[in-house]
């Protein structure tokens, strides 16, 4: 077992343990803390798998953004000093059922993939590339550039050196749809936040007038 595998197992265990602790714990802020551990460990797993851009995004958006907002929301809305959530047994059963179904779906998907043939399907070029890298140093991540190209609709990693002359499709359409979607959400959020304040102002005017 190499040091990398050891680290991978360690972070995988922390991710699983953190997720279970989120479910078991009753204190909301502790839940957020365990969520940080789980999500941070997933980011570490991405780093170990050489997906550095995804890992950094995971840290920035999920750990640094979402969970901080969650804690902020809890602090603003909590009525007592340490807010507790007590789930009823029915909720537990329901949650467990959904969880088991989800697990079954993931397992079915994972076992449907033919993992054995990935090396041959990827082509000899990639195998040779991997071998040349492995003989020197462990491969580095540096996935930001190919990702950026793919989001712009260009796939040099597939198209260069291919003999058919056909161009692969990137993710430009998906990227644009996601961007427009986020823009709509932003404008909607701004509108909702402003509208409420305007109603308050109207009510105040009526009250005084």
């Amino acid at each position: 077992m190499t040091a990398k595998e050891l680290l991978f197992w360690m972070f995988a265990l922390v991710a699983c343990g953190g997720s279970i602790a989120v479910v078991v714990s009753q204190n909301i802020v502790r839940m957020a803390f365990y969520l940080i551990m789980a999500l941070g460990s997933v980011a570490a797993l991405f780093f170990l798998l050489n997906a550095d851009f995804v890992a950094a995004t995971q840290l920035l958006i999920y750990v640094g953004g979402t969970v901080v907002l969650l804690v902020f929301g809890v602090m603003l809305t909590a009525s007592g000093p340490y807010l507790k959530i007590k789930t009823s047994p029915a909720d537990g059963v329901l949650g467990a059922g959904v969880g088991v179904l989800f697990l079954a779906m993931i397992l079915a998907t994972v076992y449907r993939v033919d993992w054995g043939n990935t090396a041959t399907r990827a082509g000899a070029g990639i195998a040779a590339y991997d071998a040349s890298i492995a003989s020197n140093y462990p491969p580095e991540g540096n996935t930001a550039r190919p990702l950026g190209w793919a989001l712009l609709g260009v796939r040099p990693d597939k198209d260069l050196g291919s003999l058919t002359g056909e161009l692969s499709t990137g993710y430009l359409l998906v990227f644009e749809i996601a961007s427009v979607h986020l823009l709509v959400v932003l404008i909607g959020a701004a509108y909702l936040a402003r509208a409420k304040r305007r109603i308050d102002a109207d009510a105040n005017e009526k009250g005084t007038g």
Partner: protein, 438 residues
Amino acid sequence: MPAIFADGSIAKFLDDAWRHLPGWVPNISPAIAAFIHAFLLINFFAVVPLFFIWLERKVSGRIQDRLGPTRVGGKFGWLQGLADGIKLIQKEDLVPAAADSMLFRSAPFLVCVASFAAFMVLPFSDGWVSVESDIGLFIALAILSLEVFGIVLAGYSSGSKWSLYGGMREAAQMVSYEIPLAICAIVPVIAVGSLNLIEISNVQAGWLPNWLLFHDPFTFLAFFVFFTVATAGCKRAPFDLAEAESELVGGFHTEYSGMRWSFFFMAEYASMFLVSGIASILFLGGWHTGIGPVDQVLVDMRASGTGADGFVIASYLANLVGMAIFMVKGSLLVFVQVWVRWTLPRLRIDQVMLTCLKYLVPISCFLFLGASLWPVVLTQTLGRTTVLEMAPPLGELLSKPAAKPGERAPRIQGSRAKAGDASDRQRFAVARALGGDE
């Protein structure tokens, strides 16, 4: 023995050394290299606050017309920080009865880990970085954004009103200030076309106009916005609402004592240096002097060290000089932060939020837009990419062909050449096809 100066990194040196060992010895050189990096960084992380706390005391003393520490460690009191540290270790480690003990105890570590981990991607000189990543800047900003979480947890778990207010202020402040910070960091990235901190610094070699600060009016303004926002991000005065002692006793750290309390300050002073270092890399030329001939000599010295063999202490020396320059620049920016703290009064919390949301965010958005349009407008009107005709384009020093065949290509291409020649050619071909300026 000179081989230690020949290799670009500790990891490579150890890996080469391991090849001389018999085959049955397991290759644990990456682990050893990681350990050495971590050891060096954690010492740096611990010593930097010691120096800056001393600096802060001396500077604040001078600004307030007094002497500051004068007794411990001779005339200048430079051992005062160490004396304080010894005092803090001896203090009792208190946990209030109303506190959520587990979160209360772990919050200072969370803050320290977040601040320390960001040093992994901070280059001190060309190649002198623990983890060289193509998205170093992005990783640094992502890790820095975790620091707030420890502060918020500390405020919440203390079970005290003052701490809760401090934590809430910090959360509100950080969530808003992260936006202009990221946008301003992108402005120089647009000019360079890379998120790799080493590449960003290396294109600024040469005379002063090559610094990204003077690249165009938008980067010039972006530096000041970035530095303001970074100061707020380290919760330094005039933005230190989270620990406003005149209203909140001590804010989020009211209930802390001893070492746990000092961890917050270690992290704060280390982050101050970190954001100052990033600012000096992004805008102030990093480890370059800003004097053309000097930089040329240093760049040539470094290039001599990347050859296959030979005695290359020159490269090591060049990197040492580069590190000294980088540290001076970073420390100067930290000095400015200290100076500002003891000069300006603290803002109110609504003023802090107003400054960010109504002024800094629109300004940084405008700078971002301007920086994107600037090269287009310039090439359309003047037909070149710089305003001054005399000024060389960015990275000119480094784009000169290598003097001798067999020597590695200069650094800016070298970092990409690692991926193998074939894929490198592909990348440049694609970049040309896309109309990029690689």
